[in-house]
């Protein structure tokens, strides 16, 4: 029992960057843009958040910088695909290569400036991202560990996911956005400001991915800067969008399940299963999910119809 609780708690911690990436990508896809740049945006968020945190000692500034880092990446993507109507696949991939390159480059650049030869976040920040401890709640048996023992990022991520669910499902703007994703020309004809909404949501989504990036740098990598800090989480997030069937709330569940795959090897008794298999597991499961969802196609849980196609007004 003790072990199960520990396992679930570890899965949540390890799945949280996926949650940010997935939710950010859902916003992109809901506006009709399949953005393959999640890994890149996360990487840009990681480096900007980490370096601002390192030099400013401020957790809040670091969060804002991470958001902005991801948002800048998304803004490049938005300009190219929304206004310039460039191919979404290629633009997203380029954003990933550029973002990872930029993250690694700047990371090594600042590493070169540091005297110790390593970059480690100051105690002031690491202290704030440690697990919260609510008097009376965190010490409760079982529930305390399962619900009240995480770092602030976890709660922030869940709140963002729920707010976005509400935004997409219950608000007028959310409805407009979904209309754009399904059929931009119909949305345009209905008087929805397609370009403006696309920009806002793509950039917002990128910012959320950026926070996921800094989570990797701060928590997954224990606050020490390493190259390739995001390490493939962004790609899993792109695939998780499908697993979550484009719902931010289902993304919460999905990312924790995938978080569990990441850490499974430490919790199952070793029965001669090769180490490499555990590394492969998240990707294998995602591939299977892709196949299964494509076999039983349901209109309800599928990609927005306009996703991947750029909208040119005068083509109507």
């Amino acid at each position: 029992m003790e072990m199960v609780i520990k396992f679930i708690a570890a899965a949540v911690i390890s799945g949280t960057p996926l949650l940010y990436g997935t939710v950010g990508e859902i916003l992109n896809e809901k506006s009709g843009h399949l953005n393959l740049g999640v890994e890149g945006m996360m990487s840009m968020g990681a480096v900007s958040g980490f370096m601002v945190g390192y030099y400013s000692d401020s957790f809040l500034l670091s969060l804002i910088a991470a958001f902005l880092g991801g948002a800048v990446g998304a803004a490049i993507y938005a300009v190219l695909t929304v206004t310039f109507m460039a191919d979404q696949n290629v633009t997203g991939l380029t954003l990933t290569i550029f973002g990872i390159g930029l993250g690694n480059f700047l990371g090594l650049y600042y590493l070169g400036l540091s005297e110790s030869g390593t970059l480690k976040l100051p105690e002031k920040i690491t202290g704030q991202m440690r697990s919260i401890n609510i008097e009376g709640l965190s010490n409760l048996p079982v529930v305390g560990k399962l619900l009240f023992s995480y770092n602030p990022f976890v709660y922030l991520g869940i709140v963002i996911a729920i707010v976005l669910w509400w935004y997409l499902k219950k608000t007028k703007t959310g409805l407009s956005l979904r209309a754009i994703g399904e059929n931009p020309s119909a949305a345009d004809a209905a008087g929805i400001r397609v370009t403006k909404l696309k920009y806002i949501n793509i950039i917002l989504g990128g910012g959320i991915c950026g926070i996921g990036g800094v989570y990797c740098a701060m928590i997954i990598n224990n606050g020490v800067w390493i190259s390739n800090s995001v390490g493939g989480f962004g790609w899993i997030a792109v695939a998780l969008v499908i697993f979550a069937a484009w719902s931010p709330v289902r993304a919460i569940f999905g990312s924790f399940v995938f978080g569990a795959f990441n850490i499974l090897r430490y919790y199952v008794p070793s029965v001669g299963i090769p180490e490499a298999f555990y590394d492969m597991l998240p990707f294998l499961v995602t591939a299977l999910v892709l196949i299964v969802t494509s076999i039983r196609q349901s209109k309800e849980n599928s990609q927005p119809a306009g996703c991947g196609i750029n909208y040119f007004r005068e083509d109507r």
Binding site: A86, A287, L290
Partner: protein, 364 residues
């Protein structure tokens, strides 16, 4: 915005289609975009405290300064060139194969099997066997997503992506278990190939460059003059048209993805047996992704791919020199590649569209 309250009014700037630019003007536009990208890259270099002109000059000088430097540049070019050619076939068909990375790896694994366990065979026979094995390995890895695409319409972009990682961890598995080098002293690696299983050198560079150049011509002929090439283009334009014309779209997709993956598999074979001399986890090392940029920049033309992949290898080789001379990490080459493609992607817009300013006095 001025027209916020008055939706009937025409916006200040709108986008309109333009008549097709002449090929010369379009080329000029792309060169201008490339120039602008260099300027933007220069601003970036300036921001990290270096002189852009001397950094650019060092990149070029570093790639050509000696015979050895040129050989190293060519060595960078080989995997990029061959992989881009493979991707081109899939992209012509609008099959978003971003699984080149995995196809390279599978080609390398299949070829390595012969390099490790059949190295007693005559050299020429072994090399030919390894090339065929590479093609089959990469081909299978291309065939899997194609099968699910034609059967269930599974999203190939994400599926090929996942196959990349699965392939990567297959190497890790082989390295840690069945193919582990017993003489490595516990360090996880696969044994170095025997001399007999190594690809020969021609003019001081592994023979992969010859294979690459042959493939440029073959892919060009295949795409331009063969029935298969024509079918690929039609399927790329419109699957419905292809079906209406009586083509077997499923068969075309499967066949093309086998060839596309197979060519990428050759990359794996030449990288493992020509450059690494073993099967390393970094045998693909991101080339599958960079190759997509190359193929796209070259507008899927094999000869332009040769040019662009050479340009990119200059960047890659040059970035190792600016690392040693300026202390800037080699990641700068990815940043510059990204910037170049951003600008070229942006400029494609101006080939097809233009901004139209609102005329004075309302609508036109």
């Amino acid at each position: 915005m001025a027209n916020m309250n008055n939706t009937a009014k025409e916006p200040l700037i709108r986008i309109g289609k333009r008549n097709e630019l002449t090929a010369k003007n379009a080329m000029f536009l792309r060169l201008a975009a490339f120039g602008l990208a260099l300027v933007a890259g220069g601003v970036f270099i300036l921001a990290v405290g270096h002189n852009p002109i001397s950094v650019y000059w060092t990149i070029i000088r570093g790639s050509f300064r000696s015979e050895m430097a040129i050989q190293a540049t060519i060595k960078y070019m080989i995997p990029l060139l061959i992989t881009s050619l493979g991707i081109t076939l899939a992209f012509r068909m609008r099959f978003w194969n971003i699984g080149a990375e995995g196809q390279v790896i599978m080609g390398a694994i299949f070829a390595s099997y012969f390099a490790l366990f059949f190295d007693g065979l005559p050299h020429v026979l072994l090399i030919i066997l390894m090339i065929i094995a590479g093609i089959i390995g990469g081909g299978i890895w291309g065939l899997i997503p194609a099968f699910f695409k034609v059967r269930y319409n599974t999203n190939e972009t994400l599926f090929t992506l996942m196959l990349n990682y699965i392939a990567l961890y297959i190497i890790v598995f082989l390295r840690d278990g069945p193919w582990a080098d017993p003489e490595s002293g516990g360090f996880p690696k696969i044994a170095r190939f025997s001399k007999n299983a190594q690809l020969d050198k021609i003019f001081g560079v592994q023979a992969g460059w010859i294979i690459g150049i042959i493939l440029v011509v073959l892919v060009f002929i295949y795409m331009r003059y063969s029935k298969h090439g024509y079918e690929i283009n039609v399927v790329g334009e419109s699957k419905a048209t292809a079906r209406y014309a009586g083509m077997n779209v499923r068969k075309i997709v499967l066949r093309t993805m086998f060839i596309s993956g197979g060519i990428c598999g050759i990359t794996g074979m030449v990288s493992a047996t020509g450059s690494d001399m073993t099967l390393a986890t970094a045998v693909a090392g991101g080339v599958g992704f960079t190759a997509i940029i190359v193929a796209w920049l070259a507008r899927l033309n094999p000869f332009t791919i040769l040019l662009v992949s050479f340009l990119f290898s200059v960047l890659e080789k040059g970035s190792t020199v600016i690392q040693s001379e300026f202390g800037l990490s080699t990641d700068s080459s990815e940043v510059l590649q990204g910037i170049i493609l951003f600008f070229v992607l942006g400029c494609e817009f101006f080939v097809r569209y233009r901004f139209i300013r609102r005329k004075k006095g309302g609508t036109d």
